[in-house]
């Protein structure tokens, strides 16, 4: 078989990632031990960025799939297509990753249908196999292949949960919003603002995370802080930037909005 071209999936420049714990070492150890990894944590706290960073660090290509309700097993495995009166097999992202020894990142795995989730089972135990029924192929994963899923056990329907049989195939890494000082460095770096402005944004996030009422159950994510910072660095008034990038996306509850506006006013 011709060697696969993994160039499109290789990450050239180091993605900026500021570590706040031992997660990089744990991830690397899991990769060496060929264990699949589950990243848990609230939205926008750096899970995706971390995987990008690790792919670069390990020199592996990275293939990312955003999961959704309509994702079928064939969307992961691959399918035949019609091309110039011929039928051609095209690998799906999971198959491609298993072949080329990439890191395959299934983002928000709970969003996928339950029957889709099952195809990853044989890949995640010590067989490390992928059986592609349609093609009649059983693929043994490349030694460098690694499966990573993300899972945000947030405030969602109790009907949406990972089955134990799926959960128990992964080692878990817990993510959370970074400690204030680090979060400020990240926001300054990524948002292009001074550290003092970034610190203020992080203070705001801390205050917002204190309001954990129904209607505002997810605190302000690092991602939103970066958005606000990016607006500020383009000359938008800071208070306005916070309202646009942080307050409005967070909740539809007017009363909570009013509280958020008060907190913004204090800071800028």
């Amino acid at each position: 078989m011709e060697p696969l071209d993994n160039a499109p999936y290789l990450i050239e420049n180091e993605p900026y990632y500021l570590s706040s714990g031992d997660e990089a070492n744990l991830f690397q150890a899991a990769w060496e031990a060929k264990l699949p990894v589950m990243l848990k944590g609230p939205t926008g706290c750096g899970k995706t960025r971390f995987v990008q960073h690790m792919a670069w660090r390990l020199g592996r290509p990275l293939i990312t799939v955003a999961c959704h309700e309509d994702l079928f097993a064939s969307d992961l495995l691959g399918r035949y297509l019609l091309m110039h009166e011929e039928t051609v097999w095209v690998d799906g992202p999971l198959t491609r990753a298993a072949r080329m020894g990439a890191i395959c990142y299934l983002d928000e795995i709970v969003e996928a249908r339950k029957d889709t989730t099952v195809v990853i089972h044989p890949l995640t135990d010590d067989r490390r196999m992928l059986s592609i029924d349609k093609k009649g192929e059983t693929l043994r994963a490349h030694p460098d292949f690694m499966l990573v899923i993300s899972f945000n056990p947030g405030y969602q329907s109790v009907l949406k949960d990972l089955k134990q049989s799926t959960r128990q195939r992964f080692v878990g890494l817990q993510f959370d919003y970074p400690p204030a000082a680090q979060e400020a460095r990240i926001v300054a770096e990524e948002g292009g603002v001074s550290v003092s402005v970034a610190e203020r944004l992080v203070t705001l996030a801390g205050r917002v995370r204190n309001v954990r009422e129904q209607g505002l159950t997810e605190g302000a994510s690092t991602r939103l802080l970066i958005y606000a910072a990016q607006l500020i660095s383009r000359g938008i008034d800071p208070a306005q930037a916070c309202r646009t990038a942080i307050c409005l996306p967070l909740t539809d509850d007017d009363r909570l909005q009013a509280t958020l506006a008060d907190l913004v006013e204090d800071l800028f």
Partner: protein, 907 residues
Amino acid sequence: MAMSDNHPLDFLRIADPETHVWVAGRVALMRPAPSRRFLTRLAETTVWALSLESGLGRVVTEGLLQLGGQAHDDLLDDYVARVRRAGATGPTLARLMAMHLVPVLAAGPAMVQRFDTTVGIMRGKGTYTLFEPLSVLGTLLKAEEVEAAGAYLDLLATTFGQDISYNRSVRLVYLLPKAVRDFVPRRRKAQIEQLRSVIQTDPRLVDPFLEGMEKGAALLGATDLARFVDAGLSHHGRSPKAGIAFLSLSSEEGRHFCARLQKVVPLSRIRASLERYLAARLGHRLPVRPMSALGDRLPEGAPMVCSDGHAIYLPDEIDQGRDPAANIALAKLLIRLEAGFFEWDSFAFDLARAIDRYPAVARRAAAVEIRSVDGRCDAERFLDCFQRPALAEAIWLLWELGRVVTGFARRYPGLLRAARPALQNEADRLWPAARADWWTALYRRLILGGAPTGGVGEEWVADLERCFLERMAAESPVEAGADLVCHVYDALAERIGKQRGRDRIPKRLPLGWRLYWPLVGRAFAPRAEAAERLRRRLAEQGIRVYRADLQQMLVRQRGELSSEELQRLVLTRGQGPVPSGADGAHADLAALLAAAGLQPAAADAADGSAFRYPEWDHQLQDYLRDHVRVQPAKVTGSTDDDVYQSTLQRHRGVVTRMRRAFELLKPEGLTLLRQWPEGDAFDHRALIDFVIDRRAGRIPSDRLFIKRLKQERDVAVLLLVDLSRSTANPVAGGQATVLEVAKEALVLFCEALQVVGDSYAIAGFSGTGRHSVDYFTIKAFGEALTPAVKAGISGLRPHRSTRMGAAIRHATVQLAPLSSRVRLLILVSDGFPNDLDYKGDHAIADTRRAAQEARARQVHVKAITVNIGSDPRLDALYGRNHHYVIGDVRDLPDKLLRLYGLLTRRS
């Protein structure tokens, strides 16, 4: 009768020995001692009253005693004569007069005359009209609302002077006093007058007017209310219907008219949002209370804001601003400023800490008994170390405000930008430049950030400012200010000499923003003793912790401390060695807490029956077997479903909306099945596969369709309601209690679940100690929504405490055997678990454990906490993603349904 050599009361002794004993007892307590004439009158009149009706004797005695032993003869005569005259009509009237005349007579002849007129008119309608109205009159006069009382008498005269039917008069006799009593004192007179002009026009307008008052007209100032009523009455002139709609604020026009005039904002309306802001800013709950709750503790000069270290107090109504928006902005500003004292720990001032840290304070306080507990706070004790405490307090307040403002400048530039102009305006208004003194000059520099202005003591005031800037570093503790006081005090005292009025804090400060130490002292006093006891015990173990820190912790934890919290405190704020070995430390601290009376001892064992459950002891890291006894209980005391029906009535809108929303949930929407053997449409992807397979000579699959499938919901849910005593607390801004609102939520929940068809059960829990946790089943799974179930909801009452773990375990046992695909337990509570020997971290750990056990049995546990702000400890209690806070309980009925919809939706 010649009684001169006998005691004047002997006459009474002979007539009625029993009453004599009582009267003599009361008389003996009179200060100053009553005159002989008074006693004679007392004896005669009492005997007369007893002859008329046995109960009247005491009433008359009370009246005379209220007039006082030194009362003027005329007054006494007048009172007695009037009561006797009333007695000629009958004992009922005599009793009324005896009861209510005293404050009227005391108010002077004008009031008496108005009283006579009104009573004369009312008696024309029947004596029954006097009871309630006179008792409210008494209340007004006792509160010294003389003007309002006069207006009230006129109102009564006007009303009952009209030709009204018996039925209407019965109703008015009830309605008017109640309305007048409910008016707020500052607007009472004006409101009574308007009520009167409404009645004068047409007595039938009373109800619409009072309805309008309740809906918002009560918040209008005197002239605005008059304009509103005038407009309403002129509408009425043209069309009675329009007038009624206008006055009752049912018409769009009436509402607009009123809204345009209204500027007052009642605190109750904005309290929840202020508290939410505080919780966000401080990271812990801090209540906002109305000034009226301070009672006699209200600081002199009725400030606009103050706090006692436990809560922030604002006026019951905020009305300084031009319009409601300005008033809300003002309230917010006050709260944001005041929160600074909490954020920078002004109330954690501890004299011992100041002494340890600052030699100057140690020298100054050498003679003070700092350990005593005497209802004062350490700040007051510190100030007493100075010859002129008021002067020390004055300079200290500047340092303290300056310290907090420095914090603002660093952390909250936006806040300071908003606050400074407001403070500045007030300062200019209160302190005209000509009357500047050292204090106001320094205030302008330190707090307003003003440039030095010419005037008093230019040089040395600048020195004081320099001193502050040099010595107060960023994040200096409150004690640093005390140190600075010691440094400047002597020079200051000499400089100021004995200039009157210059050696103390000005009476009025911008926005009234300052510290009131006596308020703090009194508020902390109840905790001070416990804190001191604990501090001593810790000191005996060689652990040094400051009392102020213990006190604050006790306040925040509502009087309970666990050994973990204590250990955290020791580690972060304490000094000296921590007892060796983490486990040993725990045990020691727990014993200490018990010894200091802060952790009640375990209850003794009792009988065994009902259900037994284990409890998790996180110190042992093990279960205590069969530790808790749960007894099934019945809801008693209600056989009708009035709450159920009235809730449906009141929430008609929500019910309709909710029914519609839940209809949609019902078949749980539609599920799309692809590659299905038959169906409503082709699945294009499958079609391509079909073609390809055919070409390749394979047998194609015939699963070519998309099918929309109604999927059965298969959900079972148990709603578990906390019935602890605290659910009897009133809801902020309303008259209902937490439990009453929860009941409404239950009703709507039942209605919704009937629509969706999910299997559901409802239960409540409460208990006292581990041997009796009550579990009330209101509706079991499979039981129909019968009248008995509805009555059960009506009959729920607050009981005792909250042993959550056991209740969750028992509820889990109900849910676990069900075969439903999704089993859900929703717990509604208004706080933290709390029971005998079930507090703090132990209770939290056990509750969390119980929820984990449930989850292990595939029962989802979600909790809703109402009526307290978000508290980070709730995460520890239920797990971060498993609970919801609803700050304003009144949202519960609506939000519970929304949450249920969210929790069980499919996509």
